[in-house]
């Protein structure tokens, strides 16, 4: 049997700005569903993707209250991807760039992630079948 693939993703965009964040999460989700081992290095604005203080809101323009709007924040998607990976026997090692977190006051992230440095990205690259950088443009 072929060994389980290991993929590294480098994310750079903050949430709620462009489609690249959603695209990155789609790719992570597909890989998680396949039981792959996933590494994520959240760099610069991407440290806000799993920010725990994101909150859903009602939407008067949509005519929906909080429950009806049922707005999934990106942190919820990250949490769901980690849970899906576990269900499928894979792993997600999500590292938040520590200096990027400090610059932005983004220390409060969802459980299951860890603070790290570029040295973690080096280790990720060394053990991964491939690395995909999804940079800010």
């Amino acid at each position: 049997m072929a060994p389980t693939p290991t993929l590294t993703f480098v994310l750079m965009d903050p949430p709620y700005e462009n489609a690249r964040t959603t695209t990155a999460l789609r790719l992570l989700d597909i890989a998680a569903r396949r039981g792959y081992n996933l590494n994520v290095f959240a760099y610069e604005g991407a440290v806000y993707v799993p920010f725990s203080k994101q909150a859903p809101h009602p939407n008067a323009v949509h005519g929906r209250d909080l429950a009806q709007e049922d707005h999934p924040n990106p942190k919820d998607w990250v949490e769901a991807i980690i849970a899906e990976a576990k269900r499928q026997g894979g792993t997600v090692d999500w590292v938040q760039c520590g200096l990027c977190v400090d610059e932005r006051g983004a220390a409060e992230s969802i459980p299951g992630l860890r603070r790290g440095s570029p040295a973690d990205l080096v280790k990720f690259a060394e053990v991964s079948d491939n690395t995909l950088v999804i940079p800010t443009k």
Partner: protein
């Protein structure tokens, strides 16, 4: 065996004043320090990064002056000193009217037609 990674920097001057550097050049320094075998290719607007006459100093909002503006050409020169190969795409220099004499020393020039061959020498290509 250690992997060889080429950092292709294309998006330029992204947050460089807030960061006081280019974040990918910075990351390359840090990863090199952590043992990664990595080189850099400058293309697109990043072809301006090695121009020595850049001066980003003088930013001031209210009474708050920036005392450590980005010095990206110097940061690239320090990468070269560390043994990192820094390539620049000659077509992108030509389009911008940048002369070789405008640039830091030690850069390696590469034409866009030669990029596939260059890429073939690396295990991973990270396009920023």
């Amino acid at each position: 065996m250690a992997k060889k990674v080429l950092q292709v920097i294309e998006t330029a001057y992204r947050g460089t004043l807030e960061e006081q550097d280019d974040t990918v050049v910075w990351l390359t320094h840090a990863m090199r320090g952590a043992g990664l075998h990595t080189d850099v290719l400058l293309r697109g607007n990043a072809a301006n990064y090695p121009v020595t006459a850049q001066d980003a100093s003088g930013l001031e909002f209210g009474g708050r002056k920036q005392t450590q503006p980005p010095r990206i050409a110097d940061d690239l020169a320090r990468l070269i000193e560390k043994g990192v190969s820094v390539y620049v795409v000659t077509d992108d220099l030509d389009r911008r009217g940048i002369q070789t004499s405008d640039l830091i020393r030690g850069l390696k020039s590469v034409g866009s037609a030669e990029l596939p061959k260059l890429f073939g020498g690396y295990d991973q290509i990270w396009h920023w």
